[in-house]
Subunit: 189 residues, 2 copies
């Protein structure tokens, strides 16, 4: 063995995630990041490889913590309420709120960066599956139309979830976005 690392890998990763999440990839400077988390360059390059690899690691981290927590909430609660709550969170967004990191990555880098795209896709699929299972649960409980295709509806929900975040970023009034939620829920039955 040899000298032990003095920093907490996941703590640094979480710090990087916060910065990338708020500012995006390009606008986040490595020096600023290292300064923020208090890490030297050699330690960083030794542990993470490069700024880009750090982004990928942040994205993985986001999926397995933040996104997974949202998914867990969805899977746990009563179907209709759980779905509504997932949307109500987003209705509360202000323009300066952090929208889903998957969306940030998809828009800034998804067009050119295959490794980012694969991860975003995986995250969206996890979310879609969670919605799908929740819809099926709701159908079994007689809350949603039983003849509807849960897969189609779950993709529809994911699309709406991200669309509403764009409206929030643009400062479209809360009441306008809230009324949209009713239309979305109506599509479930």
């Amino acid at each position: 063995m040899a000298r032990l690392r003095e920093f907490d890998y996941e703590q640094v990763l979480d710090g990087a995630l916060q910065l990338f999440w708020r500012g995006g990839y390009e606008a986040t400077s490595l020096d600023g990041l290292l300064n923020e988390v208090g890490l030297s360059k050699s330690s960083f390059y030794g542990a993470f490889g490069s700024k880009h690899e750090m982004l990928l690691a942040s994205l993985d981290r986001y999926i397995e913590t933040v996104l997974q927590a949202n998914i867990d909430e969805l899977r746990r609660g009563p179907p209709r309420e759980a779905i509504m709550r997932s949307f109500e969170k987003i209705l509360g967004f202000q323009p300066s709120s952090k929208t889903c990191f998957l969306q940030v990555c998809a828009i800034e880098r998804g067009g050119q960066d295959r490794l980012v795209r694969m991860r975003v896709r995986r995250g969206l699929e996890l979310l879609e599956e969670a919605y799908r299972d929740t819809i099926v649960r709701g159908q079994e409980a007689g809350q949603f139309a039983a003849d509807a295709d849960a897969r189609v509806l779950s993709t529809f929900l994911v699309a709406n979830l991200y669309g509403l975040q764009v409206l929030g970023r643009a400062n479209i009034a809360v009441h306008a976005r809230t009324k949209t939620l009713a239309t979305i829920m109506k599509a479930l039955a």
Copy 2:
């Protein structure tokens, strides 16, 4: 009077729009931009002021050309078909396709940049109005449920339009996105 400018202002603006549109604000370097459009720095700063002002000008330009063209199509055609066509365009997107510039700006800078946010919002509102008027036309023609609130539905359509673009960026299969369109249209009646 004095010496005449040798470059075409709008042509340069269009070139800048293309670069910002494809790569985003931060990732687009001024040197690269000037090199691309063949403009000297002094001419650029004389005419446009700064990189940031150029972004704002590009955004305005986008709204009055690209977005307005989409809006015109929407307003011209038969209601149901016009709405469907506006979505079908997006279904054809590949991951590398340029998503709506309003979305790129909203996600990259909307959280921190008020001037960008105001423009994005105005663009979204123009789009929402066009959808709204188209829905009303459809209601008058008996194609859509007459008792529905066209304003709510139009916001709903805008949200879906942007949500589907995120899915496209993430390489979610075309057939999954296509099926979503049916669900969206069903909400109109």
